[in-house]
Assembly symmetry: C2
Homo-oligomer: 139 residues x 2
Amino acid sequence: MPAAPLPSEVVEFLRQPNPGVVASLRADGSPHTAATWYEWQEDGHVLLNMDESRRRLDFMRRDPRVTLTALGHEDWGRYVTLFGRIVRIESDADLADIDRLAIRYAGVPFRARDARRYSAWMRVEAWYGWDGSGPWPRP
Amino acid sequence: MPAAPLPSEVVEFLRQPNPGVVASLRADGSPHTAATWYEWQEDGHVLLNMDESRRRLDFMRRDPRVTLTALGHEDWGRYVTLFGRIVRIESDADLADIDRLAIRYAGVPFRARDARRYSAWMRVEAWYGWDGSGPWPRP
């Protein structure tokens, strides 16, 4: 599994508004997965954003090891999985982060203006990509 | 998180050819995720199928705890996550299982006739569903 940094084709892929699925670890060590919006950060991190009620916020505080699988938004035969850890969790008090995500994915700012949201930054340590029947990008 | 069995709306959703993301556990306990085809089995299991070279086959043999997130194939705002464990892994020597999956997802039998594939059955123990901004199906 290649280590970070990511090649430019993979970064370009991650900049698309792809469906994401984030995996975290429950208290008993079993996996938990959820669909998610994400935003690639040009410094090698990925931004996630969650309502304060989401259980995975607690999971990430307890064990920061996570993965994110991003599926090609036009053809999910191509996908990329990122391995890493949550290095920062902060209140998104002014909803600036979720607004940016909502505009990127839905075209409009986040609807629930009274929501209490948290942003989490995942530092990407390794990755792999797949397309159809083999590794992507092709070596 | 509701326990199995699944309500009929969720079963109906899982019968669609939805993109799936399966999470398993690496040897160090960190998560691993991959996009996958799946097939809902009417006895409360989910069929997965992997090439013999896939690392997650070893992960599942070592620790059977997995999750599957299925994203709505027309709108991934609706999704379902299944929690469970792999209870059986068998050689798909005649490619019958992967052919059924390939026909369901791609409309044609599996292309690589010399592939060595394995089928894994996940027993579903719990689940949750989400649509847009709240639990699905609505209580």
